[in-house]
Symmetry: C2
Amino acid sequence: MPQTTNPHQLSERSLYLFKSLVEHFIADGQPVGSRTLARDIELELSPATIRNIMADLEDIGLLHSPHTSAGRIPTVKGYRLFVDSLLRVHQLNSREIERIAEELNPGQDKQALLKRTSNILSEITRLAGVVMLPRTEQQSLKRVEFVSLTDNRILVILVINESEIQNRIIHTARIYTPSELQQASNYLNDMFAGKDLPTIRSEILKELKRMKENVNQIMQTAIEMAQQAFMNIEPRDDYVLAGQTNLMDVAELCDVERLKKLFDSFNQKRDILHLLEQSIHAKGVQIFIGEEAGYDVLDNCSVVISPYEVEGQILGVLGVIGPTRMHYERVIPIVDITAKMLGSALNSYN
Amino acid sequence: MPQTTNPHQLSERSLYLFKSLVEHFIADGQPVGSRTLARDIELELSPATIRNIMADLEDIGLLHSPHTSAGRIPTVKGYRLFVDSLLRVHQLNSREIERIAEELNPGQDKQALLKRTSNILSEITRLAGVVMLPRTEQQSLKRVEFVSLTDNRILVILVINESEIQNRIIHTARIYTPSELQQASNYLNDMFAGKDLPTIRSEILKELKRMKENVNQIMQTAIEMAQQAFMNIEPRDDYVLAGQTNLMDVAELCDVERLKKLFDSFNQKRDILHLLEQSIHAKGVQIFIGEEAGYDVLDNCSVVISPYEVEGQILGVLGVIGPTRMHYERVIPIVDITAKMLGSALNSYN
DNA sequence: TTTAGCACTCTCCTGATTAGAGTGCAAAAC
DNA sequence: GTTTTGCACTCTAATCAGGAGAGTGCTAAA
């Protein structure tokens, strides 16, 4: 009988041993030696036999010893094999599911919901939770409102898509009365509501050019204000992160230098954002282990993320960041289910 | 000649030595010994003399040796004396002032301005910057708007005071047309604009009681929606913090345990908030050194804060958090001037 | 093919030693 | 009386050696 479909042509037994070793290491954090493993497993094998097998596994690149007389720990490649082929994902218990559901009830503003999602992810996994904000390639204007402040300053409220709100203050040449503002916003709502922002911008520019011919005062006021209001919409924060401090308990990362680099890159957002964006078109949970992600700061870290979607359209990505040595069998279903539940929570906004 | 007005009856020379020692320690971070100090100062004194004086200073409680054969470091009481009586505050150079001014231009939403302020504080001091949000004991409604979303959900936008915006989603029994919503918001604006939230709440409750007698449909709709909208306004974030990671470079705090506790208390906000609130009625820059603040997590930390005000009315508090061993002579004027500049930036909102 | 035996390696802990820094005190110098 | 010198003393931090423990790899036996 051939060794069937195993990757690396490994025997069942080797795989079993490897799996046990990884599980042991994830639980313990200490390099696992042959004797320990011999005690640990179901099979009756002597440490020597296990040593031989471990040597093979090391040759293939699945294991690695920190030094001669330490046990062995999985390499990135090893984790990869473990996660892809050996891992048996847990069922979540219903209490946890309920907890997530409770936290993810809609009925709050979208931003707050995402923040809560990030929080719950971090609390339930005891790692750092991250939720990328819905991709808004399509930002369509729902409504615009003006509120006059003192002097010639006007507060502009833009409601974009469903329930996203942007506000900014603009300055006008003269002071407008509330009813003028009302007329202006009515005009703009009639003209632009339902259109997406790039379109609106180009139409505003067109209107500005035509303006000389047209002397309608309301229109002119409205367009001038719209120009200020729509032209430089600041990009929002790109993701929300929660539970960073959980990572400070993790032994592997327990060095201030490393942690600082990691936290700094969380704040800068650039690297993490790139990583999250890679998954925006993936289906289901994706896992980046250690250096796989391609960012030095994420050495010894794994990222478990999943896109979340509403009616088949992917809106964003969420997940957790933790040490490579994490409880994948728990984390994966948590990320998975949270993505699904966030999707349906967001669904109720449309 | 008596020893004049010095605190602790210290001679000029002792004070000079003490000041030099503190400055040396702040620059260096190492306990300062008699020999080092002898080299460092202007006066020609032998290490032995300095030792005698340092022993006196230690007796009074201004200095402390980590152990017999280390130099000496200032105690909290020592820092207090230094900061209150010996410190010569730097003039800020104009480049720094310009930098702050640039960052604090208004013309953005208030929240963003405060965030930027916090950022600039942390960047310029290389410590953690904190800005408490304007106290809104007085929250007066400027305007309320309704935007209908899908189904029976309605987005409520509350403009409170000047330029603060709260939004929430409410659910209604039936679906309203835009014009109904318009009428409702007109009604509520007429009724409540300019009043403060507690008043509004109590009036809403009164109206609800009277409602049976009154069958005006618009009013009923409006009041029902108002009830949902105004009743549980979530308290906003209470302060914004920036540059936490700067604290990870500080040698004194360089222990992951401590840092985690500190960061956790930043996230919980409770302790820090209490501390900030203590200064809300103070005038000018206040400094809490180490245990003075009364919170364990702030051991070895100092907090330099100042209220900021608009037209004589204190709105909030801002400042920085760093190690006790910080460059007070630089940090104090930075906090001071930033508070003033934030005040005038906010002034332009009124 | 598996196991037992064994020499070997590496880490970690302990204890001893030393160099260095800094102190405190007593006696001498100013 | 104040300042300095000289000196014994203390404490830390670094270095080194030695031993225990864990684990390996290899060889030979089962």
